[in-house]
Subunit: 182 residues, 2 copies
Amino acid sequence: MRVLGVDPGLTRCGVGVVEGIAGRPLTMHGVGVVRTPPDAELGLRLVAIEQGIERWLDEYEPELLAVERVFSQHNVRTVMGTAQASAVAMLCAARRGLPVALHTPSEVKAAVTGSGRADKAQVGAMVTRLLRLDAPPKPADAADALALAICHIWRAPAQNRLQQAVALHAAHASKALKGRTA
Amino acid sequence: MRVLGVDPGLTRCGVGVVEGIAGRPLTMHGVGVVRTPPDAELGLRLVAIEQGIERWLDEYEPELLAVERVFSQHNVRTVMGTAQASAVAMLCAARRGLPVALHTPSEVKAAVTGSGRADKAQVGAMVTRLLRLDAPPKPADAADALALAICHIWRAPAQNRLQQAVALHAAHASKALKGRTA
């Protein structure tokens, strides 16, 4: 499974492509940052993000986009920018028919470091180790994007099993109900 | 000046097209709502909003998009959806080279009712009167979109004068500085 991770932001969108399946060594295909000038008009910044994400989708042809689930716990202004940048990334993927997966920051940290409260340095160190890189990707947004992709690859089997279990339970419940009302 | 007002939301995006200049009677060209199913995936909802906004831009060819400036004062979940929907609307406009103007809810209320704390009914009543409609547009999101467009048409001259004054002041200051350092 090839995943494009996106750590959304108006000024810097971290992007990273990771391929692999749970339980096997992972491969990094690319990592980088989509930047937009802070003094540009908001509409134009969103267009620049769209163009940047489109280039990554064209070049790496991922099967899925994993993006950070945005919470309003931080600075209000930052959160709005993050929500807007993530909307553009999700739009680009969905428009091509690619599934979009959302993971919270603590899910990502827990997936790659074992702790949902790990700091940036720890996430960077584990991303470097897991992808067998020479040095942590810079800036931190780029490392976070790779961590998001890794998180998705590792959590996906569990999520799929959970979804299957829920679907199976729903099917049984529906059958049982039908049997009762028949 | 023909303005497309957008009251952004994931479930309902109010849209309304108003033409006019400050101090003259206004004309409504169209009003409606772009809806997306609440149970659909987020990426697909954003694609549906993009398609809806594109249709309005194609059909009415506005010169500018006026959209609500999103604040994080309300329910966190709603605010995220609003920020995401507004990002898509701004992206659609900016991609065509249309300017995007942001107005706060209180600016809009103050523009059409004289009070920044007016309620929905009051905004609906004034929109009905100002555009000489038979009844307030429903739902409230549609009326709010028209109010946004009206607000922009009425505030634009003042904003332009302010921007000109700031630019002039900056030019003078820069000249004075050059004179001093020369």
